[in-house]
Symmetry: C2
Subunit: 212 residues, 2 copies
């Protein structure tokens, strides 16, 4: 899922889109917001600071984004516009492990924008909502991993895809974001395998669909 790749480490999508002056300005401003956030955090975020850093005129930033909340909302919006899909490795364990490696990379890189956006979600109700929506989208996109496994006969159609995906990915977030332990290179695979084994044993089957 990815919930983590989303608040992506790469420049916001606008940065890569050709587009005209408007798209360029957006790219510059959102890059400046991300840089300010990862370097100085939410408290230091201001329209003036972003204008200076981005080289975009302050009046333009005010007119288009209004305030810090507007800037943050657009960072999340840009992240959600980034094309993303889970890798297809040919097996449930492989797909879950690939997903977990992406999450671990994005959460453990230096100046992680993913971690910065999670931190911001504890400061701003708007950011919390936006992050929740972004995660919701990524988990929904990741359900194809489970659908493929069902199609291959690896999983019962009774499996609750979301529950399985949460179980597979949660240890990464818990360790890297909350417990703040250094990244464990074996964790992405181990969390994938343990969720796949539990799924295999029926742990995520919906209560009333066991016979499906």
């Amino acid at each position: 899922m990815s919930t983590a790749p989303p608040p992506a480490s790469e420049p916001a999508p606008a940065a890569r889109r050709p587009g005209g002056r408007t798209a360029r300005i957006r790219a510059q401003v959102l890059e400046a917001v991300s840089a300010e956030l990862t370097e100085h955090g939410y408290d230091a975020l201001s329209i003036d600071g972003v204008a200076t850093r981005s080289g975009v005129h302050r009046a333009t930033v005010y007119r288009r984004w209004h305030d810090v909340g507007g800037l943050l909302a657009d960072v999340f919006h840009a992240a959600s516009q980034q094309p993303w899909q889970p890798r297809d490795t040919g097996s449930l364990r492989g797909d879950l492990a690939a997903l977990n490696h992406e999450i671990q990379d994005s959460l453990s890189e230096e100046s992680s924008i993913a971690v910065a956006l999670i931190a911001v979600s504890f400061r701003s109700e708007g950011a919390a909502r936006a992050l929740r929506q972004l995660w919701e989208d990524r988990y929904t996109q990741s359900e194809i991993i489970v659908q493929r496994a069902i199609h291959r006969g690896e999983l019962s159609p009774a499996v609750d895809a979301r529950a399985l995906l949460i179980a597979a990915t949660a240890p990464l977030y818990h360790q890297l974001v909350l417990l703040r332990t250094p990244p464990d290179p074996q964790l992405p695979d181990r969390a994938a395998v343990s969720a796949a084994l539990a799924a295999d044993a029926g742990a995520f089957n919906r209560p009333h669909s066991a016979g499906q």
Copy 2:
């Protein structure tokens, strides 16, 4: 584990300890800190506000706790002093489920001090360190759940207790603290069962101890 009960919902231990004037003052002050944190958050926390709310003289609060960092450190210290041990239900699944119910309760109650302290850990490096230590203590105390299961023959001695405990509890934190989904009454049991099934299948066995 519990990592959640620790930043406890009950008054700090000092409040329940008879003790003399010093203990009473500490209890009043720490209760005020917890109340300020859950109601207004880190930004509103101040020595003056805590002094007013606790009814303890401002000079006393300054002398003993120095600053907001000192107050926070003592809240964590008080939490770590609270006696806590995981329930013994007679089975691995039961013990993990009991643990998860405690965590879910503490994270989803109104004005959760556990959630407030997690939020603070994104603001203050000192609080992040204190929370990490508190979690470390709680996970260590929870390892007895795994030891009992090994003793009963439910688990192989090769199992990595910490990895199993993290897998069992992580979905609670991920859903309630990061994804901010409403509490799912079935999640504590489901997360316990899925971790126990994965453990059973060898998912948490240490690589070089498979034969032990």
